[in-house]
Symmetry: C2
Subunit: 199 residues, 2 copies
């Protein structure tokens, strides 16, 4: 545990960490030194976008803190380059927008391409205009941004997701997020069963 | 108002927009085209960090949406370069951490240097380690990052602020933000008077 000179513990964020949304965070791969920071997020779930097995020490952290792992194995840089798999991203997006999984952290290896594409698709669901979506992608990818990812985000079809989510999950309009979540948790509405999420 | 092909309105975020924290946002200068987006944030206040008068159309937007403006006139790029004024940043920080002003948007002109320094100081209050703070600053400043700003953030003394805030305002430990705010709003605790905030 790292400390400073004045009052003890300091928090080491994972590389490339940002808050996406109320209850949604993104980053590069969390290391042991980041676990103290992650604890402060009170995570309920993690979306992990790499095909490699999750490291043992990270699994232990998840178990100790009752955090659910959703793994979607998407390959990193390939030769020749291949675009992101649409169906896998759609599946990850369904997990992401389900407030029952929040607070949630999305991460891949560096938090740039795979994470950036998923967040980009979320922004489209949120009705962000394309230039805002791409600016956010590029800010997080830095000099490593990829034209192929921008094209993926631009052409990703969110209509099916919207239809599927319309009555059963969090459908985002602007940032009225907390109110919707509270409604979901507190009101006596008919709660959907997971299989209802199928398109 | 911009629209897309499918279902009407699309939201145009201000340049360099990010969510800092539950109830805290940052960006470059909001333009007319961003007002629809800003409405979705349900802002209660704006911290504006430039000395120039606020534009008339922005003032009208604030008035129509009952948003309070806190202006702290900090000069942009100067020749020769001058460091950020510590006392002004401290005053802005006091406004920023007061949850009665949330949701709040911080902006200057491009959301890079003045905004970046203020957010950097907030992160120190939140016990982030210095390398995490500087990574976030640099991500938002891009190629325009300034060594002088990094030094300002590193040497900014948050002890006085912490002491001042200890019993009267939001003192951040990790992300347990919402709970504290709800307590403040909902529980029958003795609410501090503004003058108690003096150091």
């Amino acid at each position: 545990m790292e400390t400073d000179d004045q009052d003890g513990v300091v928090l080491v964020s994972p590389s490339n960490f940002s808050m996406v949304e109320d209850g949604i965070y993104r980053s590069g791969f969390p290391q042991l030194e980041n676990f103290g920071f992650l604890k402060t997020l009170n995570l309920r779930s993690i979306i992990y976008l790499c095909p490699e097995p999750y490291p043992e020490e990270n699994l232990k952290f998840l178990e100790a803190n009752n955090i659910k792992l959703f793994q979607f194995g998407i390959k990193g840089k390939t030769d020749p380059p291949t675009p992101m798999p649409k169906d896998t991203v759609l599946d990850a997006l369904k997990v992401l927008v389900d407030v029952r999984n929040h607070p949630i952290l999305i991460h891949c290896k560096r938090g740039k391409h795979r994470t950036g594409c998923l967040v980009g698709c979320l922004r489209k669901v949120q009705s962000w205009c394309l230039s805002s979506v791409l600016e956010e992608y590029q800010k997080n990818a830095g000099l490593k941004w990829r034209q192929m990812d921008l094209k993926f985000i631009e052409t990703f079809d969110i209509v099916r997701l919207r239809q599927c989510l319309f009555s059963i999950m969090y459908r985002y309009h602007g940032y009225g997020f907390k109110r919707k979540r509270l409604m979901y948790e507190e009101e006596d509405v008919q709660k959907p069963k997971p299989q209802a999420a199928k398109v």
